[in-house]
Structure formats: structure tokens, C-alpha cells
């Protein structure tokens, strides 16, 4: 009959109205400043720079390659390369960012900088309480404000951080093996050069590469 549905609906809302006073479970609201919803691992807000170790300046993974700066769709990253070099996690001397600013008033949280970074140096943060009374300076984060430790990264994105760490360790091991192989090859080459004389100088490199591959034991592709 006409109007039946309205009565049913009214009963439903009345039940919810009364129920919200009776059972606390119905209320889904989290009273924000006092209570907090549990952190969501996959959430992302703005990027930050990861550093290893205790000293943020020495431990920055960023090598100022500027790929993120170029890829950033709204162009909110500003990087200046350093003049000198410092050793990275593998031990290889690398350029580091003398200046690394992100304008979070421009950033659109697309995560493209994270996707393109070959050094696992830039990751997405989950900190959203960024309001400030300084509209320009307060929203332009420099590299000290952006630098956050690897432990912090493990805290906010445990799964992702573990994967990254495993990958970095693997790469480091590979690099070590490679360096060792290269050193071995160089030693062998030196020995061969010593025995064969002037003939071994030109095919030195092609001879070293298969040797390195052979010691690694697995194909690169």
C-alpha cells in the first residue's frame, strides 16, 4: 500500500536514533584530536627523504640525480647538486643534494618521485598534520625537514620498508661480489698481461666481463 515504505524507513531511522544512544559500537566516529584511527599502512601524504644511520646529513640516500625533479608533474621539487662527493651505501663516492626542497603546497601526492627514484631515497610520508600559519615558508620543506630515518620508514610502512631493505642488501652484496670479481679479473688480467706481454692489452675489457659473469653464476637479464 502507498506509504508503507515511508513507515518502514521511519522505523529504521528511529531504531538507529535510539540505538546510537544504547550501544557505543554503532558510533563509528573517531573523536579526532583525543582519539586516533589506527594508521593505515598504504596511506600516503607527502614525500620525505630516507637516511641511514644516525646522522641525517651523512646518511641521506639521495644522490641528487634529479630524476624526481624532472618527473614531478607539478614541479614542486627543487634540487641543487653538491660540488663534492660522499660515499653512498655501497661505498661508492656520490654527489649529494646541497639543496632539496619540496613545496608541499604544490605537491599533489602522486608518488611519481617515489616510483622513479633508483636509489630508494624518497618515500611517501603518512604525517598529515602539516598546517602552519606561514603560508609560503612553512609549506616549503628543506632537506633537513624532509630527512627521516630508515627506522621511521619501517615504522610507517613496515612491509614496503622490509622489501626495500632486502633489495638494497642484495644490491650491496651484488656490488661487493662484482667489485671482488672485477678485482680478481684485474689481478688475473695483470697476471695474464705479465705472462702474455703486449698482446693482452687491447682485449682486456671483453676478457674481464665474462670472467665477472662466470663468478656471479647467474645471468643478468
Amino acid at each position: 500500500m502507498l506509504g508503507e515504505g515511508i513507515l518502514k524507513g521511519l522505523a529504521e531511522t528511529a531504531r538507529n536514533f535510539a540505538g546510537s544512544y544504547v550501544s557505543k559500537d554503532r558510533l563509528t566516529t573517531v573523536q579526532y584530536p583525543e582519539e586516533r584511527a589506527p594508521a593505515i599502512e598504504a596511506s600516503r601524504v607527502f614525500p620525505f627523504l630516507v637516511y641511514d644511520g644516525a646522522d641525517w646529513e651523512a646518511g641521506l640516500r639521495c644522490v641528487a640525480c634529479q630524476i624526481c625533479e624532472k618527473e614531478c608533474p607539478p614541479k614542486c621539487i627543487y634540487i641543487e647538486k653538491s660540488k663534492d662527493k660522499k660515499p653512498d651505501y655501497v661505498g661508492k663516492p656520490q654527489i649529494y643534494p646541497a639543496k632539496f626542497d619540496i613545496d608541499i603546497s604544490v605537491c599533489m601526492s602522486c608518488q611519481i618521485c617515489v616510483e622513479v627514484c633508483p636509489f630508494e631515497a624518497i618515500k611517501m610520508d603518512t604525517d598529515f598534520e602539516l598546517s602552519t600559519d606561514d603560508r609560503f615558508g612553512g609549506l616549503l620543506l628543506d632537506r633537513q625537514e624532509l630527512a627521516k630515518s630508515n627506522e621511521y620508514y619501517h615504522n610507517i610502512h613496515p612491509t614496503e620498508a622490509a622489501e626495500v631493505d632486502a633489495r638494497l642488501a642484495e644490491e650491496k652484496a651484488k656490488a661487493e661480489v662484482k667489485a671482488k670479481a672485477a678485482a680478481d679479473a684485474a689481478a688475473a688480467k695483470a697476471a695474464a698481461a705479465a705472462t702474455a706481454g703486449a698482446a693482452g692489452t687491447t682485449p682486456g675489457n671483453p676478457a674481464a666481463a665474462p670472467a665477472a659473469k662466470a663468478t656471479e653464476g647467474e645471468p643478468k637479464a
Binding site: 502507498l2 515511508i6 531511522t13 538507529n16 536514533f17 554503532r26 563509528t28 566516529t29 573523536q31
Partner: protein, 391 residues
């Protein structure tokens, strides 16, 4: 003592006027009463907004506002300060004068409705003989102000909202009036005071409210539907449908003018709730004869508040209608029911006392409701859409 409490506001007014010379008494009395009305209803408006926000929140399993003051009771104060201090923006292309006048006309018209409303025994500002007519005339003026707002803003959303509002309000004005006409037929008067007095009798414990008769119940339901539409409340909130038209006819209003529209809307709600109470729910008369000692104004405002709560409840329950559903419902269902109700009321009158008229009138109305509800308001089942292309 009880009588004193019942008449406390009337006695207070007379006491104040006692200090004035004779020629001044009448105008000052009117001004004082008008000022009371103008302050009372915005206060009730603040209460209603708070109730609405808390109530809707609870219906959706939320807390509602609970930050400003204990349990959020100072939220209306905060909202008021906010809207008063906001910038008042008038669009460059707007018709500035009409744009300014629209909220003023609305608020004036809406407050005028209370001039003839009996809010308690002897508590009526102007006891007009044709107060029902005056009330409806003022109610129709709000349509003008809404159209002024929509037209002068020079904004497509505003104009669409205003067009919808006018179409809707004119359509539902007819059932609103016709459901009131039934009461006029029964009491033989257009005076709201006389209508309440006609209902202020008891048989045993039970009151003679018009809602307890077949034609009164039908009129009451029709009036409730039409008054919801008149005040642009959900489910009839097409003129200001937020999801479709930003804010409808007051899209281009900000600051205090926006607050005035908001106020006007709620005070109109109080006005139609007060009229519905007066026509069908016995106005200021007590619901049981043993409760007749409670001051009459408490009954009036209590009934109005309950009516407002039902409005809020409906808003929390029903989705918005579509324009064609709105018009179909008004012209194909509500209006025929209204006309039938006029006939039933006449039948009731001329059948005289007895149980027969109860049976005949009830059967007629229920039959019409069921038949028309099934025939015209049946849900239409549309099949999958087919397309025919030129070969």
C-alpha cells in the same frame, strides 16, 4: 495560581501597559508583542537547528556537533557569530536591489504569519476574523522572495532552484489551502482563534481535536505533506538540492543574508507547524482533560516542537523526490484526495450524529486512498532501454 500561570504573558503585557496613557496602550502593546515574537522565534530556530544536527547525526550513527560548549549546545551561537562576521558578497551582475530585498521580504513575510497565530489562551497578536486567509497570503509571499532571490542572482543554479521552488510551492499551495478549508467548513469561521476554541472540548478524557475524525485525519496527513513541500524540507527539497544545484536559489548569498534565508526557512517551518497544530491538533488545548491545568502556551509550543521533530525525522529518512514524481504526486494524488476530503467533510456535517457517519466517511477515504494509491502511484517498472537505429 494556575490561571495566573496560564495567562502570565497576557498579564505581564497588561501590567506594562498600565503605566502608559490610554492612547498609547494599543500601539505599544502591539509593538511589545511583535518584539517578543521576533526574539522568540529566532531563539527557537537556534534550538531547532541544534536539534536537527544532533538528531540527524544520531540517525546516521554519528555524534553530531559536540565541540562548542557542553554537548555542543553553543553550536548555534558559534554559527551565528560566523555568519555575521563573514563577508557579504554580491555578484557583479546581480540586480543589487532585488538581491538585497529578497531575504528581507522572506523574513518579513514569515514573521507576519505569527501575527494571527494563537499561541495560548488569549495570546494572539491580532485577532483577525479572516486570519487563516491572512496566513496563507503571507505564506504565498515567501514564494515571491524565493523567486526574487533566484532571479536577481543571475546564476543558473539560483534560477533553476527558484523555478523549481515556484513550481513546487504553487502546486502544493493548493492542497495546503484545501486541507485547511475542511476546518473552515466545520467551524464556519476563518478565525484561527475560533478554530482552537472549537477543539477545546472534551468527551470524558479525550479532546475534540479535528485530527480524531476521518476527514480531520485525512486533512492532517495532506496538510503535513503539503507543509513539508511548502517549507522546502526533505523529501521536497528540490529547490535547494545540494547535490544538484549547489544551494538552489540562495547559491549567491553569503554572510548575514544567507543566515536570513536560513532563518526564514526555519521560522516558516515553525509557522506551518503552528498552523497545523492550530487546525488539527487543537492549538493550545490540552491533549487530555486531566492535563488542562498545564498552561496553554506550553501545549502550543510543545506540539510545535514535536512537529519540528517529525520534520527532522522525515528528513533523516527520505531521499529527495524527482521533479516529475513531485508534480505527479501533487496533482494526481494529493489534489483529488483533497477534493474528496471536502466532499467527505460535507457528508459528515449533513449525516448528523451517530456511528453511521464514522463508518461511511472512513470507508470512503480509505477506499480512495487504496485505489488511488494502487492505480496512480504504482511503481513503474521500466524494462531495459532499447534503441532503434536507422537501417
Amino acid at each position: 495560581m494556575i490561571d495566573r500561570l496560564d495567562q502570565v504573558f497576557v498579564l505581564l503585557l497588561h501590567w506594562i501597559l498600565g503605566y502608559l496613557p490610554g492612547g498609547w496602550q494599543a500601539p505599544v502593546g502591539v509593538i511589545v508583542s511583535a518584539v517578543c515574537i521576533v526574539f522568540l522565534y529566532p531563539a527557537l530556530f537556534a534550538l531547532a537547528v541544534l536539534m536537527e544536527r544532533k538528531g540527524l547525526g544520531r540517525m546516521q550513527n554519528r555524534y553530531g556537533p559536540n565541540r562548542v560548549g557542553p554537548f555542543g549546545i553553543l553550536q548555534p551561537v558559534a554559527d551565528g557569530i560566523k555568519s555575521l562576521t563573514k563577508e557579504d558578497i554580491v555578484p557583479l551582475n546581480a540586480d543589487a536591489l532585488v538581491h538585497f530585498m529578497a531575504p528581507v521580504v522572506l523574513v518579513v513575510a514569515v514573521f507576519m504569519m505569527f501575527a494571527v497565530m494563537p499561541m495560548g489562551r488569549n495570546m494572539v497578536l491580532v485577532n483577525l476574523d479572516a486570519s487563516l486567509l491572512f496566513f496563507f497570503a503571507m505564506g504565498a509571499t515567501t514564494e515571491l522572495s524565493i523567486f526574487m532571490a533566484g532571479w536577481s542572482s543571475r546564476n543558473k543554479y539560483s534560477l533553476l532552484g527558484a523555478m523549481r521552488a515556484v513550481a513546487q510551492m504553487i502546486s502544493y499551495e493548493v492542497p495546503l489551502l484545501l486541507s485547511g478549508v475542511v476546518i473552515v467548513m466545520m467551524t464556519g469561521s476563518l478565525s484561527l482563534v475560533k478554530m482552537v476554541e472549537a477543539q477545546d472540548h472534551f468527551t470524558g478524557w479525550f479532546p475534540h481535536w479535528f485530527v480524531f475524525t476521518p476527514w480531520g485525519l485525512a486533512g492532517f496527513v495532506i496538510f503535513a505533506i503539503a507543509s513539508t513541500a511548502e517549507t522546502n524540507r526533505s523529501p521536497f527539497d528540490l529547490p535547494e538540492g545540494e547535490s544538484e544545484l549547489v544551494a538552489g536559489y540562495f547559491t549567491e548569498y553569503s554572510g548575514f543574508k544567507f543566515a536570513l534565508f536560513f532563518l526564514g526557512e526555519y521560522v516558516e517551518m515553525f509557522a506551518v507547524a503552528g498552523l497545523g497544530t492550530t487546525l488539527f491538533l487543537g492549538g493550545w488545548s490540552a491533549p487530555l482533560s486531566v492535563l488542562a491545568w498545564v498552561p496553554s502556551w506550553i501545549w502550543f509550543f510543545g506540539k510545535v516542537e514535536i512537529w519540528i521533530c517529525v520534520f527532522i525525522w522525515l528528513r533523516g529518512t527520505l531521499p529527495r523526490l524527482r521533479q516529475d514524481q513531485l508534480m505527479n504526486f501533487a496533482w494526481k494524488f494529493v489534489l483529488p484526495m483533497c477534493l474528496l476530503n471536502l466532499f467527505v467533510a460535507a457528508l459528515w456535517r449533513f449525516m448528523g450524529e451517530g456511528w453511521l457517519r464514522w463508518v461511511v466517511c472512513s470507508v470512503l477515504l480509505v477506499l480512495a486512498y487504496v485505489v488511488m494509491g494502487n492505480a496512480e502511484m504504482r511503481r513503474k517498472h521500466f524494462g531495459p532501454r532499447t534503441y532503434r537505429y536507422a537501417e
